[in-house]
Subunit: 322 residues, 3 copies
């Protein structure tokens, strides 16, 4: 802790911990989320055909975490709706992003520097949401690490985890892809956050809460900015993941070569079946999906991925729409 | 209020407000709902293959609103089942509509005059259900208009809103269509009712509850009867909807012509993609869907619409089945 | 009761009623359930591609009943997760069944004698789960037979009833089949158990609880063993079901021949549509589904059936995988 004191990090982290998310950070979260929705294939068409479905979809993007954790804890699903100020704010942003004359709001927010700032601020809200979930679960299930992780994860990455059902609202159904089968970066980083905050809460991690908040927030913001600036979607945990996977889930049998062949066959099959799905997808979106072309190479990650990929600055997409 | 007193409307509305829904109006609701289920494509086949799935589907048609509002308020989903009398009544009607010897019950109830009366009575129950939902939400969330509207809507139009999952029980899955993407008339009128009763409850609407109940009930019954008699499925709100849509959701940009073109393209795409879906649908139902032929023109509205369209008197359909 | 006393059945049933499910019987339930998951088409591929989705799927197989009954009673869905010991035990078994070096655990457990014992022990847990559900529902809804049956059924056969959504976790979506449309044997026997225990609880069945537990357990275990040894999947209730169906759901109209024709047409249509679905299925699984070939004849029962069919001793399947 001495080092922390020297660097004034203690004060900084205290200041951060006392930061209020409302209204600026929440606004950034709503803007980035609703822009991500708008960039989903077909979303713009839905916004013309049925503003209500579009609004409901937007609310699921903004409050998905609250809805999912409410379902998991058997609390009223409508509770997020009862916070009128937040819903009103999110609805206003929804309206401006989708229906603003001359598309001013979307085009401005899609400019790289602004988008970078907004995305950074959205990442900050993640810390608060994960911590909120973990704390809430801790107050009900004192000793259950798993429940705390699950609720923290759900609260922080709810929009992604329920994306199959969010898509259903817009008439899209892609059962072959979900966040558990192929985790996107935000879902992964949220899971790691949920684990860390749970360990801090149960004193397995010898860190003070506001220090962890600072470290986690800085990490997510820096990493997000790096990904947006370099346009890379590579996970910073790829090496660790690969090591864990090889150690735990590949089996160390004397028949290693045989197993590898089986595995290769499995993966080949997987690829084949998903690529077929992608082809189907792209042919389905043939008419409607002009807005964001899905290359077959990217196709693998599916639309879930698209949500976040679209967050990386693609200011060109704005030109297409008006 | 003087005018009301002159017309004796005050007494009439008081009388109406004290009307008990059980058993006659509830019965009418069950009969019309289960007949609507029976007229869904493929439902008759399901009733032969799996009476249990058919019964469960019927219960979702009859108690869908109660189930949906229970989920939203985190109350036990099984609660509607605990009202043994209602479930028994609905089950008896389900049995008679689907399995009555010589199909007597369905054929009688499908006669235009009787169906007209039953549908009118079903519309009356809508008022009670919407009001019940709004009141229930008001007791929990005093100040949240949105929650009150949502629960009132869910209670009154639950069967329609959960129709994707009701269809799943019968092995049918049509993700490209739902009540939010393309609202049917009953869903719309219920939403309007939920808004009105919420405004009355929160005193934004300077009307007494029983007066509003009278007006709303008369409107829904008259309108339903008109639609059944003329066979028209045109919404009485088409003009207002169109005006709101043009004002709020089309954008008033100087690039109006361009925007219009984009919009036209969007709608064209939308139509193309849905018509493809319809073709797929009709080919899928090729064998099973003989009972109610879906014309490509109607196809757009999909099966959700069919539910209500089928409620318009088509006594001829009876002849086909026996 | 005299006969019972003579046969010492009273003491035996008392002993059985005091038996603890944890840990041995629970372990058998987890092993058999997770092996059933592993034998689903495509499950092995999922276990390689996404261990997390595989783990979540396994937990739904093991705790599906608890999850479903929690949803129905508006209790926290995460509650089963809060029982750390059970989750840890199930997770360990999941790991060993899917990732054990040289596939030792799966191959051993798949040997007929061991599988027979494990399946028998799993059937014993069914009694406890159904009884637990009925008792829990009875404490909340004293007079509602239907709720008690529903919760008992959900708790005992939850994994099957939510299988559509469990499959969705693994990226599989088969809307044309569910446990209500075509009940599998375990779902049927659980429903019968739920009815019996509900009648015992409400004193309509003049039997003591531990006697009923003994009879029901013996019946399920013997029947399961018989089915595994003879490899038959014929239901012992086929005759009763057929009689009930003919009495209640076929209609005794004077137009019997006509009705029969209609019914035949219906069933033909049904078959046609499902066989089309099966073809689609098998072509979809063309690559991924090599592990368990689905014959078009069996195809009708779909994957739900596969879950249980796979439980019948097919020790040969082990040879295929390593």
């Amino acid at each position: 802790m001495d080092l922390l004191e020297v660097l004034h990090l203690d004060e900084l982290s205290q200041g951060l911990a006392n930061l209020s998310m409302f209204p600026y950070f929440d606004m950034a979260h709503y803007i980035v989320s609703i822009m991500a929705l708008r960039e989903q294939p077909g979303a713009l068409e839905v916004s013309r055909v049925s503003p209500l479905a579009c609004w409901f979809s937007s609310m699921l993007f903004c409050f998905g975490g609250a809805v999912l954790s409410a379902i998991m804890l058997a609390e009223p699903v409508v509770a997020p709706l009862s916070n009128s100020t937040s819903v009103l704010l999110a609805s206003m942003i929804w309206y401006l992003v989708f229906y603003c004359p001359m598309d001013l709001v979307y085009c401005c927010a899609a400019l790289l520097p602004l988008r970078l700032v907004l995305s950074g601020m959205k990442e900050v809200t993640r810390t608060w949401k994960v911590l909120g979930g973990v704390t809430q679960a801790h107050s009900k299930y004192k000793d259950s690490l798993l429940v705390m992780i699950a609720i923290g994860w759900a609260k922080g990455a709810g929009g992604g985890l329920i994306s199959n059902f969010e898509q259903l609202v817009r008439g899209v159904w892609k059962p072959e892809t979900n966040e558990l089968l192929k985790m996107s970066y935000p879902t992964k980083i949220t899971l790691i956050g949920a684990v860390l905050f749970t360990m801090q809460q149960t004193h397995y991690l010898p860190l003070q809460k506001h220090h962890l908040m600072l470290f986690y927030t800085v990490f997510t913001v820096v990493n997000k900015s790096r990904m947006m600036l370099t346009g890379s979607s590579s996970s910073p945990f790829a090496a660790i993941e690969s090591a864990i996977y090889k150690t735990l889930f590949s089996g160390h049998s004397p028949y290693a070569t045989l197993t590898d062949e089986v595995k290769k066959a499995c993966i080949d099959n997987g690829t084949t079946s998903t690529s077929t799905a992608t082809t189907k997808e792209s042919s389905e979106n043939g008419g409607a999906g002009k807005h964001v072309p899905v290359s077959p190479v990217k196709g693998r990650r599916g639309s879930l991925k698209a949500k976040e990929e679209s967050e990386s600055a693609e200011t060109t997409s704005c030109k297409k729409t008006d």
